[in-house]
Symmetry: C2
Subunit: 243 residues, 2 copies
């Protein structure tokens, strides 16, 4: 079960099929000690570039999962599939319509035990994902706490993902999301480029996602595995899991 | 846990706080052998009329749950709360915005163990609920199967509710929803007024909801408990439950 395996994810890398990474760099990422590599991005994602990257990652023993942003890019045979549900989107498309359409299309072929919904709250209005999903980013801490409860109790999602995509986030907002969670995990992603940032968000979240840094400063990205894993999370959610 | 108790619901009555029911009739409904009484409706629902009806039902040993259609009408102390999520709504309001707002408002006070999300597919375009929720009723069997999978696997809902509100539905559509379900329960509601209809939908669904008939023909409504309970469901979902 992917939802079970996710409970052990403390640090994950997110690689973009639409960006270039040398074989040497990919090897370092995959053998860094990270817990999983998520393949996904916001634009320029195709079946071809997704499959290429997934096949290259498959050479290494690390768990790889595809985050589905377009039904046309789904690659069979990955270890798992993450289905984003953008809780603060301004469009039904990113909440359930795209997901419904993909499910209708792939029907019986979906290996549900290796599929997990990820409840996103996208908080950087300037980011591509923020614009694409028309996310309502002008939310407060009470909203974050309520999103946590919504994700955990109504939709029984294995994880809530506070996504600042490209920008280092507000620790208070991440903490607010945590207050809404008892068993679902809390993912944080966005703008981590330094040790202090990696450690700060590792204290708030269960799982820290490092993406852009791989392409901007590979050495720091590789170091982030240690920064995150050495830090203890203050949170209590995620221990019991909802699977 | 409400989600556990729901697994035993075969027949339920749905009573509308905005409609009148004599004490004698209410007694008959509550002592009919039905598995639960759901209190809820589409318009004219207030805290006052909801509380009045819930307090009257509390005189009887039957399980009573409130279906929340307006956050202002939530009555404390009921046995459980059902939170509708209208999967084919044309508006985010009925999918998660109203739910998010209510969760933000009630915060820590929500007894989550007695709360369950109900994934609705509203199929009668002429019904009040269809118009209010701007439901996309022009869907086919493949859509229904996909809604089942979406409800069970992505949102891990305890039940999918195929709602024909006021109109007897298409058994083929209910069967299509069933194909998408392995563990979540299948609820059917809408237009049951005769024995053959009650028995037909009892074969397709796990839980049959009888509403209007209480107000139109109480004797037939009371008989429907037996019609439903005597009939065996062909379905296999709901046995294992997702709680």
């Amino acid at each position: 079960m992917l939802t079970e395996r996710m409970k052990k994810w403390r640090h994950v890398f997110k690689l973009d099929p639409n960006r270039t990474l040398s074989e040497k760099s990919l090897e370092k990422v995959c053998t860094s000690g990270t817990d999983a590599v998520i393949v996904g991005g916001t634009d320029g994602i195709t079946y071809q570039n997704s499959r290429d990257l997934i096949e290259r990652i498959a050479e290494y023993p690390v768990e790889s999962v595809q985050e589905i942003s377009a039904e046309s890019a789904v690659v069979p045979g990955v270890d798992g599939y993450l289905i984003p549900v953008v809780l603060n989107s301004g469009s039904l498309h990113w909440v359930l319509k795209a997901q419904h359409r993909a499910i209708r299309k792939y029907g019986d072929w979906i290996p549900w035990e290796d599929v997990a919904a990820l409840g996103y709250v996208v908080l950087n209005p300037e980011s591509k994902v923020g614009r694409l999903t028309e996310s309502r980013t002008g939310v407060g801490t009470a909203d974050l706490t309520a999103y946590g409860r919504l994700a955990e109790h109504l939709f029984r999602m294995p994880a809530l993902y506070v996504e600042y995509s490209g920008m280092y986030g507000d620790e208070g907002m991440v903490r607010a999301a945590r207050r809404g969670l008892k068993r679902s995990r809390l993912f944080y992603g966005g703008g981590i480029s330094r040790e202090d940032q990696a450690r700060a968000m590792s204290r708030e979240a269960d799982t820290v996602v490092v993406g852009n840094l791989v392409y901007q400063n590979l050495e720091a990205a590789l170091e982030s595995v240690r920064w995150v894993k050495e830090t203890e999370s203050k949170g209590v959610s995620g221990d019991q899991g909802i699977n």
